[in-house]
Every structure is written in structure tokens, then in C-alpha cells.
Assembly symmetry: C2
DNA sequence: GTCAATCTAGCACACCTGTGCTGGTTTGCC
DNA sequence: GGCAAACCAGCACAGGTGTGCTAGATTGAC
């Protein structure tokens, strides 16, 4: 056998090229030829590692979610509860340059997934994971006393999810409406204010 | 001069075809040929009314926003304040089949606008208009006594905007996470609950 | 060195795209 | 009727696309 370790490195290089293109021009620009050029390869080389374009895109998406997952897990190590909640939510939103880059790319896939069953399955799984994660966060908030005791945690998590998604979406698509600082302030106010009561209250 | 009235009808027919295609397959599918086929015309006919594809897309977007605007204005006629606020917000969200259709199409343009300066200008103007509209709604809420007197209306409007956008985005891209009924409940809870205090509070 | 697995490179095909252009057809005014 | 403007239809060109395929280069085990 020859070179089993470099294979993964090459795949990562190619995925990096995909990400750069997605950030710059969106998924439509991520043709096999352009990806190859961006990675400094020939189209045949790319197709040796990814038999089809769909495979390449799916792999790029999965790699992205792995990366985000790692980051969130790292933020989860923070000992102080309140700091931890904010840190973890922050990782999911475009509040820094690095996360902005990731979420810009992520938005490309989410959008495409509306008309692509393959991507849709992956995206749906990711969304469900985020929701579970937010439910966890809400439980933590309950222990912190930031929640009305009668609040329905699922309901509160759904609301938090919508708020986070809305801030993210606006930061990505309408930067004139929202600065990072303001988004962060709104997030803190939403989480630690008296906003998390039950809808049935 | 021949036929000055049918011209607008034709344009509308073509735009209708564009919308149908956008809903079904996204903006990428809205090629001149496919639009023509959908409208039952030859490509040359479409190009007689819209010199270029970009022009066609821009026109389809503007037509959409006009349509939504009319609907919102109609909802603004409701006399009861509380009912009116809900009705107006409802028009901006995919809570019915007709508005869902419009917002699906709208999302296509918003997404494309990230890499298309022409569309970006139109979309940004629309977003600003929605924000002004929401600020208006918030003022109405203040008069209703649903707002903390010290609340910063701009801040509250920004939060409401994010929440509405988040619910909309999730309904369009992650229907497994959110039903229309739940979204409506969350909206009402957000607007009429104790959620609208000032961030600096 | 030998050799086979792995990787790279790129040509070729069929298809779709926007748009320039050139004819034909319909329409309503005079 | 005649005529010009408005409209319709579609060909043609120069690109770009995914992917099948073949041929060469590189690599590491033996």
C-alpha cells in the first residue's frame, strides 16, 4: 500500500478549496473545475478523491459541521455556567471572523438543501443536533434561576433557536441592519433577561 | 401605437412563470429558456420584454415586494390595535400557504443577493423598509402598555426583527423543527409577553 | 531494480447557459 | 387597403458544466 496518510490531507486541501470558493462566490461557483483550480490540481485529481460533485459537496458540509462541533465542545469546557452558556451560543453565531466564515459557508448548504435531498438529510440532522444542544442550554439556564419554573423547556428552546437563527441570518444577509455588538447585546438580553417564560403563562 | 395595455399583462405572465419556477427549483433554475417554456413562449419573446436575465430577475423581485406591501397595507386597516399588530406581522411570515409561497421566493432572492450587487441593493431597501415598519409596530405596542417605559424602541424593534426573521427562516429551511402553529404561538408570546424590555435594563 | 497500487493530468462528449441577431407575424392607426 | 410599429420565434455563437475515460507519473514494498 502506498500513502494512506496523505490521502486525508489531500481531501482536506480540496475541502479547503471548496470552502474558499463558497465564501467568495457561493455554491454555484463550486464546480469541479473551479475547485480543482483553487486547489492547484487538475479536475481528474479531484475526481480521484471525490467520484462525483455531489459527494464532494456532501463531504465539505460534513467536514464543516465537524469543525463547528469541535469548537462548541471546546467552549463547553468553560467552568462558569453563565460564561459557558454565552460562549457556546457565540460559537453558533457569526460574531467573530472565524465563525462568520463558517456560517457563511453553512448558509450556502442550508439554502441548497431546499432543493437537494442528499444535502437536506445532512442539514436536517445538524439542525436537530443544534436544537438538542439548545435544549441542554435551556436546562442549564433553569438551574441558574433565569427561567420561570413553570416554563416549558422545549418551548423556550424553540424560541431561543429562532432568535439565534434570526440574528445569524440577519448578520449574514443584512449587515446594514445589525452589528455584531448589537447582536451580542440582544442575545444576552434575550437569554438573561426575563424573556424565557412559558408561552402558556 | 399598438397594444400598450397587454404589455403589462404579458410581463406579469412572465413574472408569474418566474415565480413558479423559483418556488419549484430555486433561482438557479430560472434560466431564460425555462422561464419561456413555463410561460409558453419562445426565448426571443421573453427577451423582447426583458432585455437581460438580470433585468427579469430584478423585475420579479420588485413585483414580489409590491405584492407583499399591498397585503401588509390591507392588514393595517384592522381597527383593533392588538389584532392589527398580529395581522401585520403575520403577513411577513410563512404562516399561510400564500405567504409561504411568497417568502420561499423571497428567500431565493435574498440568498442570491449575497453575491449580486444589483439584487443586493433592492433587498437591502426592502429590509430597511421592514425594519421601519417594525419600529412602527413597536411604538404601537408601547401605547398598548406592552413595553417597559424605559425601553429603547430601536433595540426592541431589532429584537423583534431578529425573532420574526428567525421563525421565518426556520419555517422555510427546517420545517421539522417548527410548525406554523408553534411559530405563531412563539410570536404572540414574544410580542405580548414580558419580552420587550430594554437590553440595558 | 521491479512491479503494482496509487495518484495526477487532461481530453472528449453531451448538455445547458446568456445573449446577439435575423427573419416572420400580428396589430392597430391612417 | 397600406404601413410601420410592436411582437413572436428561433437559430447561432461562445462559453461553462458534470463526468467517462485513457495515459502517464509517482510511490513504497519486495
Amino acid at each position: 500500500m502506498v500513502r494512506t496518510i496523505d490521502q486525508e490531507a489531500r481531501r482536506r486541501e480540496i475541502v479547503d478549496a471548496v470552502w474558499r470558493i463558497l465564501e467568495r462566490g457561493g455554491l454555484e461557483d463550486a464546480s469541479v473545475r473551479k475547485v480543482a483550480a483553487e486547489a492547484g490540481l487538475a479536475t481528474g485529481s479531484v475526481r480521484h478523491f471525490f467520484g462525483t460533485q455531489a459527494e464532494l459537496h456532501a463531504f465539505a458540509l460534513r467536514s464543516l459541521s465537524e469543525r463547528v462541533g469541535e469548537r462548541v465542545r471546546r467552549a463547553a469546557a468553560e467552568p462558569d455556567v453563565r460564561t459557558r452558556v454565552v460562549a457556546m451560543l457565540t460559537e453558533l453565531m457569526p460574531l467573530r471572523d472565524d465563525t462568520t466564515r463558517e456560517l457563511r459557508i453553512w448558509l450556502e448548504f442550508v439554502h441548497r438543501s431546499r432543493f437537494d435531498e442528499n444535502l437536506a438529510a445532512i442539514v436536517a440532522e445538524q439542525a436537530a443536533e443544534v436544537r438538542r444542544f439548545l435544549t441542554h442550554v435551556v436546562t442549564g439556564l433553569g438551574e441558574l434561576g433565569h427561567l420561570c419554573p413553570t416554563a416549558d423547556h422545549d418551548e423556550v428552546a424553540a424560541g431561543l433557536n429562532a432568535f439565534v437563527d434570526g440574528l445569524t441570518f440577519e448578520l449574514l444577509t443584512a449587515p446594514a441592519l445589525l452589528t455584531r455588538e448589537r447582536a451580542f447585546a440582544l442575545l444576552e438580553s434575550f437569554v438573561f433577561g426575563h424573556h424565557m417564560r412559558n408561552a402558556a403563562e
